[in-house]
Symmetry: C2
Subunit: 383 residues, 2 copies
């Protein structure tokens, strides 16, 4: 059992922000100075009017496209982002920052606190989606970008897009929020809570001060990931993909271990995940998602009133984790608030993860949305 | 952390079966001699024609009705079974046996093997639903009961009823299978596999040989139970019952522990469960459910052909763990096999656990079914 270590040279760029003015946090504390690691793709135009911010999900990071230097696999949305792709890096300047609380170079429990030269470990503060977005706004400030052409994200990335819309509507020309919700439901909180419990119950958790001890609650994180992964897919996909097929055997093993392919699949994703993720980051970020509630008083439309942002909302029929009804609530509120928006629900059997995968009607709709927005923004056609 | 110990005097009766003829197991092994603990309610008539077998679910036991001597709480179907209740113990003789592999007095890892005088622990064989039912048939043989008036069960109890129908149709006048399936789906297997993984990852698991060491994988079992409990309920119930209410606080704690009521609820059910359940039994019984497949070749109707049993099938709309479509497949197969059956799907927001709760239309339908069957069987009206 080894401990996750963040890459010494995280992919892309690292800035130290919040040195002069620490970042205020929703918990009441402050963060600063803090590193923020980000990747960019394409070239910013002189007017800085072609900037797309992509916000990653819970276990994503800033490597959207190209080969991930840690995992050696394609970035998490490589199919979508690149020269000539739907998010065309010949046309747009794409930024993706590792969220604060993350573990791929941005400030988090596994990162070194520039103020002390020591690992943050359990001293890293608990954060919110609002805090993540505030840190991203600091990054734009630093880069001299007044406003975004578009912010795009799915799942927790979608929460960040909605938070941008609520907190900085004047800085957001267009936005796309996929497979997401305006608030975490009790079932969503419950699923996260069980994953956290698996980590906290692992004796290597050591009250969160395991960093640098050579032992980490990896077994607990594997359980959390197996559960999360199951929740990201749909039963109809499991039926067609695995059925009741046994793993490398003709008969059940009649023992406590793995019998079925679906078990092996979940265990595989658990093992892979712990190579690239810090358990304390997992606790922090799932908490940030659970805390997410764009309108605690229930008046979601009031949060959107006055926004001139053009929104795209996408949901997926088999997504039982972020069911389409949650996106419907967003669309209803945007309608009441007169926010121009497109709302689509797609047939797809891969559940929540469908937002990452090729769904032809989504790809067509989304390409059209981006092109129309680019035209509206006066961006030249791609070279 | 303490270890679960089975009650020295389990509720009801305990028989030692399989002494002369060990019970053949689907894994190829044998079990015997083995204890089988069971409870009875009501009085058997002279013709032994009023016997109802109730089969319990994964974490149930033989205490269907009355006060459970271990938990001091009502039995798991107390509302349904008793004098004047729907399963009227003034009219019927009700038997419920703790399944083999269980931990309330029947043979299992936490029980003493009569052949050795030692705890079975990890030497207890892995079993199937077919094995559980075969052990129940031995109990009936011992009691001189040729055939059952009715077998009733929900979830894993429903699997046992279906197994009775397949293996002993001539011994089954009527049957009721609620919130169940003819085979475990890959999602159902996956959910169980994650719970097992939490137990196996607990250092106190000790390769299953923890019994008598004073340490048991209780922390892992708590995680498994939290997940199971979440899967037994439905998101719409969580929405109306908990919403996003915080637990005993006005603001989030901004720490790794419990913030929301739904988290506290799941943790509570985890804690309660480990007081009465053995982790190794949990592993064994979830495996038995995963192995369950009434018709591995897919020809379910062929398994029912010729059965003259009258069946009642009940499903619940919000049950996402055993979705109504699984019961529909059973009904379709019974229709093809000309098995007389009633098939109902009930509106209910409590998910899978709805089968345990008062759902008025179900109660009415089920009372009618039992009465009609009793009349058909020639049983006198209740005193």
């Amino acid at each position: 059992m080894t401990e996750f270590s963040p890459p010494k040279t995280p992919p892309g760029h690292v800035l130290i922000l919040g040195d002069a003015t620490p970042l205020p946090l929703d918990s009441g504390g402050h963060l600063g100075p803090f590193p923020l690691a980000y990747s960019t793709y394409g070239t910013m135009n002189a007017a800085k009017s072609n900037v797309i911010l992509i916000a990653h999900a819970l276990t994503g990071d800033q490597v959207v496209s190209g080969t991930h230097p840690v995992t050696k696999r394609p970035g998490w949305w490589d199919r979508m982002v690149g020269p000539g792709r739907i998010i065309d890096t010949n046309r747009f300047f794409v930024i993706c920052a590792n969220v604060i609380g993350g573990c791929m170079g941005s400030a988090g429990p596994a990162a070194i606190n520039p103020a002390t030269g020591q690992l943050w470990s359990a001293d890293f503060p608990f954060i919110t989606i609002g805090d993540m977005v505030r840190a991203q706004a600091r990054l734009l400030d630093h880069l001299g970008i007044d406003d975004l052409f578009m912010a795009i994200g799915g799942s927790m990335g979608g929460m960040q897009v909605l938070q941008w819309l609520r907190d900085y509507p004047q800085r957001l020309f267009a936005g796309a929020a996929l497979a997401t919700a305006a608030r975490h439901s009790p079932q969503q909180i419950g699923l996260h809570s069980i994953g956290r419990r698996a980590i906290l119950a692992d004796p290597h958790w050591q009250d969160g001060r395991y960093h640098g001890t050579g032992h980490a609650p990896i077994a607990g994180l594997e359980v959390a990931r197996m559960l999360a992964h199951l929740s990201y897919r749909a039963p109809e996909e499991f039926d067609s993909r695995f059925g009741r097929a046994l793993q490398d055997r003709d008969q059940p093993a009649y023992g406590p271990g793995i019998d079925y392919q679906v078990e092996n699949y979940l265990a595989y994703h658990g093992r892979r995940f712990v190579e690239r993720f810090d358990p304390a980051s997992y606790i922090l970020i799932t908490k940030a998602m659970d805390y997410f509630d764009l309108a605690p008083d229930g008046d979601l439309a009031a949060r959107f009133v006055g926004a001139r942002t053009h929104m795209f909302l996408g949901a997926y029929e088999s997504d039982w984790l972020y069911p389409p009804a949650q996106t419907q609530l967003l669309a209803d509120a945007m309608a009441r608030a007169d926010v121009v928006h497109i709302h689509r629900c797609y047939q797809a059997i891969a559940g929540h993860d469908s937002f990452l995968l090729e769904i032809e009607p989504f790809d067509a709709d989304f390409a059209r949305f981006i092109n129309e927005m680019a035209t509206k923004r006066g961006l030249p056609a791609p070279r």
